[in-house]
Structures are given as C-alpha cells and as structure tokens.
C-alpha cells in the first residue's frame, strides 16, 4: 500500500513538473541558401550578398555570414567560376572534420576570412519577431581555400 502511494506520488510530481516548464523555442540548426554571387576581383576575393535572421541583429548578421560560407563550402554558385563547391561531400566532411567545420561555421572562425561586411538594406523584424539582414560581404576565397588545404579538409591541387 505504501509502495503504491509512493509510486502514485512520483508519477504526479513528474506530471506536474512537466506542465510547469515553459516551452522553450529552439531554433532549428539549418542554413539558408539565400546567398547571391555578385562578382570577384580574380585575385582571390569574392563578393556575395547574403540574407540572415536571428533573435538579435547581431545573431542575424552572424547567420548571414554563416549562410554565405555554407553555400561557398557545400553548394557553389552555378554559372560562375565557383560553381563547384570547395568541399565535395558535405556528409563525409562532417563525419571526418566536424570540429573544424563547427569552429568555422558556428563559432565565428569564418569571420577571419571576411574582408568587408556592409548592410545593403536596413534590418527589419519579420512576423516571427526575428531580425532580418541583407549583407554584402567580401570573402577572401584564396585564404579560405588555403586554410582548408592546410587543415586537410580538402586536397591541394592534384592528389
């Protein structure tokens, strides 16, 4: 009888505690491909335009930067000399070089390859109260490729 009471109490505590918790909205981890190639100076720098969104303007800026690098690394820009992505196989790269990619895309290492960064239009809040930015960025593509080669993420030209 006492055992039954204890079990019943534990179940009730569990149910009450789960109702009491506030629902946390966790933003899904995904990258947008709303990145547009603008031009290149043919000396190793590439200009792109990228959208980003976030809870704060700073988050939105960082999101735009991440998206630009994601497209450069894994998607490429069709119809340009960057049509082939720098990293051919995203799944394989994430399995073997997850730390480097996390550092590059999630922890701000990508900003070391950004030569300049300008807002094309004023940031605004959308219906979900997220800030949306549209950035024009100049990325040091040559340095990025060299860094990927030196960290064995991609091969140098050849084998």
């Amino acid at each position: 009888m006492n055992t039954k009471k204890i079990v019943f109490a534990v179940i009730n505590i569990f149910l009450l505690s789960s109702l009491g918790c506030s629902k946390k909205s966790i933003a899904p981890v995904y990258y947008s491909s709303e990145v547009t190639y603008l031009n290149t100076n043919h000396e190793g720098a590439i200009n792109v335009k990228s959208f980003g969104s976030g809870i704060t303007k700073e988050d939105a800026n960082f999101d735009a930067q991440k998206n630009a690098f994601y497209v450069l690394l894994f998607r490429g820009f069709p119809g340009t000399e960057f049509s082939l992505p720098l990293i051919e196989n995203e799944n394989e790269a994430r399995k073997t070089n997850n730390d480097y990619l996390k550092n590059l895309l999630e922890k701000g290492y990508c900003t070391t390859f950004i030569m300049s960064n300008n807002s094309i239009s004023n940031p605004f809040q959308n219906n979900n109260k997220l800030w949306v930015v549209n950035l024009e960025m100049k990325i040091n593509h040559l340095a990025l490729r060299k860094d990927l080669e030196q960290n064995n993420i991609i091969r140098k030209f050849g084998y």
Binding site: H42, E81, S83, L84, F157, G158
Partner: protein, 309 residues
Amino acid sequence: MKNKERIIILILLINFFSVFSQSKATDSGGEIEVTSPTVFLVPQVNEGEDIRKIIEGNNDLQVVFSVIKQAFDKRGFTCSNFLDEVKITNKSSAINTSKQSNLQSDIVRNSGKDIAVYVKLNKKTKGIENALSIILDATEISTGLSIANANGDSGYFETYDFELLAKRALIIPPSSSDDEIKISIIENFLNVIQSKFTERLKKGNVIRIEIQIDKTCKVNFSTEIDGLPLEDKIREWMAANAYKNNFSTKGASELAMIFDEVRIPVLNQATKTNYKAGDFALEFWKYLKSLGLTPNKTTTNNLVTIILK
C-alpha cells in the same frame, strides 16, 4: 674461438640486412607524400606547321605560358613547359629534321609527364586593335583522353601588350553587359581538372597493357595452362587485380592481347604508399612467371608491354 666466430657471423648478418634497411639520409619517419600527376604546357601544332617557328623566338607563346603557369602556381601546383623540356632533353638538333609533326608527339610521349595542356593561340587584328583567343586542351598522355578544355577570347583592345590580352582572355574576360557574370576561364579549367583528379582517386589511374608473344615462344593465347586457355587465365587475373574490377580489353589474337584500360589505385591499398604502373606490372610479371612463362616487361609512363618468350 667459438665466441669470435659468433661475433663475425653477427657482424656479417648486420651488414647483410643493413643493405636492405632504410637509408638514414632519406628516412622520412614513415611520412608519405602522394605523388600528384605531372602537367606540362605544350604549344598546339597543326599538321604541316613548322614547329621551329612555333617555339623559337615566340615571345607571345612564352607570355601566354607564363599567365597559365601563374594560375597553376596560385593553386600551389608547378607545371613544366614544353619549351624547357626540349632544352632538357637536348632535342634542339632534332628540330632541324623534316618530321616536324612527329617531333612534338615524340617529345610529349617520352616526356614522362602525365598530362599535356595543349595551348593554341590565335592573334586577331582589326585596324589598330588586337585580340587574342586561346584554346586550352588538357589531355592524358598515356591514353589520349581529353580531360578538360577551355576557350577564352580577350576581345579587341588598342594594345600590343599580349600579357594583358592573355589575362583578358583567360582570367578577366570581357562581357557584353555589366550584369553578365564574368567567369575566369582558367579557374574553371583548373576546377574541372581537379574534379578529374578526384575521380582518379576514387576510380584509379588508367594504364594500358599490351601482351605480345614472341615467335620463339612455345605457347600462344589458346594454349591451355592449368585447364584454361592462357587468354582466359590472364583475363581472370586482370579481373581479380584491376582496381575495383575496372578494366577493358580489346580482345586477343593468337599472338597479341591488349587491355586498353586497366584501373590501378593511386595508393597501394595495403601500405598507402604511391602505386605506379610499374608496381602493377611487377605483380602481373610475377603471375606470368608462376604459370611457367618467361615474360619480359617494360613500362613507359602508363604503358606496360609484356613480351612472352
């Protein structure tokens, strides 16, 4: 006395094995550098064209070669130059022979290089304006397969600066409007070549194997060995040993058998060291010896020739 004999034997054994041990001068501690394919730039010569006129004193060609080499250098890759190759192999006296069109192909074939990038220039003039169009064709020397090509045009400019025209043609092409995306021809070209290298890493390098039976040999490809005709024994071995079972054959006559495409891995799959046509040829040679045959093998670039005697 016995101890002295033991010491002498020990010293002799140490000296014997030291012959086969790694030389300290070249010991890398196990680190291996994967050998990349070699690339060299070759001027495109049409039939009947005088190669002397193409290569001697042709500053424009040198300038274009220099622009192309710079693009390779930016990728950290060094390519060599047909013109330098001619100097190295001391073929300058041979240039004066009458067989102009064979000379280029002979030098290319005997160069030991893997890929030739043929460069064709076309200079155009319109009044005081000049333009340069450049055609690039990267070809695998051993198989003759074209792996990448590109075509760039500088557009007409009032200039005799061929370096500028070459860069306009290959690196900064003109466009009809400001909105049109300008694509660097040479960057695209290098990207395609790199994608072919990636394919080679996955599928293997291509070699060609030609097996001939000498007239003094007592067997031919129909001769039965261990219950099977020799042709089938060889085909079975090739199927088992070609990388990922990837090979093709042109068939066999009584005295000749050709495998026009046999894939071998870039790296020895067991030791992860560089694996070349000569290594595969040696394995094949050992197999033929095990059948009681007398094979003579030669390997030139990616062509393996076996003569059974």
